[in-house]
């Protein structure tokens, strides 16, 4: 069981590093919010899924399932509320407005 957890943990390192690259590399604000939140959700899911394999008793697994369900529901909702607040406050989606 330890080997499975180690493989999933190594897989999650890449997503954490990609999240850091997405925070610093992208120029547009909406692209930054969308990509960093999505990558961070996958990274947290992978880390908690790996920790489920090495937990010692059944009580740990119940807590991890609760935490995974909570993070998978609330993280996209937070991103949506943030983007909605930015859009309704008048930030343009493109950097340069296209004149028709």
């Amino acid at each position: 069981m330890n080997v499975v957890a180690m493989i999933i943990l190594v897989l999650s390192w890449f997503f954490i590093i990609f999240g850091m690259i997405a925070v610093f590399g992208l120029k547009n604000m909406y692209a930054r919010i969308l990509s960093s939140t999505t990558i961070d959700t996958v990274a947290s899911f992978l880390v908690l899924f790996a920790l489920m394999f090495v937990s010692s008793s059944f009580v740990f697994i119940v807590r991890f399932v609760l935490l995974i369900i909570f993070l998978l529901i609330t993280n996209p909702i937070s991103s949506h509320v943030n983007i909605r607040s930015a859009y309704l406050s008048g930030i343009p989606i493109h950097d340069k407005e296209v004149k028709l």
Binding site: M6, L9, G19, R32, T37, N82, S85, S89
Partner: protein, 91 residues
């Protein structure tokens, strides 16, 4: 120290590096919503660090603390976004 504990330590160090990077972006963020987003990312990473440390120390209490910290982070994020969207006025 077994191999699994070494892997858990490396994951915690990577998460700390991610928190520091998010904090730098929070200082230099050009707009307000960047800073709120970085608050969300830091809260998610702190929840992960507490969960890994609970496995590392084999204690059940730290996992409950992680769950309640996640709830507090989500409420902070949502209420701050709504407060900024309405401009501080009651609607």
């Amino acid at each position: 120290m077994s191999t699994l504990q070494l892997f858990l330590l490396i994951t915690m160090m990577l998460l700390v590096v991610g928190i520091i990077a998010s904090f730098i972006r929070m200082i230099y963020g050009p707009k307000l919503w960047d800073r709120i987003l970085m608050l969300n990312l830091i809260s998610a990473k702190v929840v992960l660090i507490i969960a890994i440390y609970a496995i590392y120390m084999n204690s059940l209490t730290l996992l409950d603390i992680a769950i309640s910290y996640g709830i507090i982070g989500f409420l902070t994020m949502t209420l701050l976004s709504k407060f900024i969207m309405t401009g501080g006025r009651e609607k």
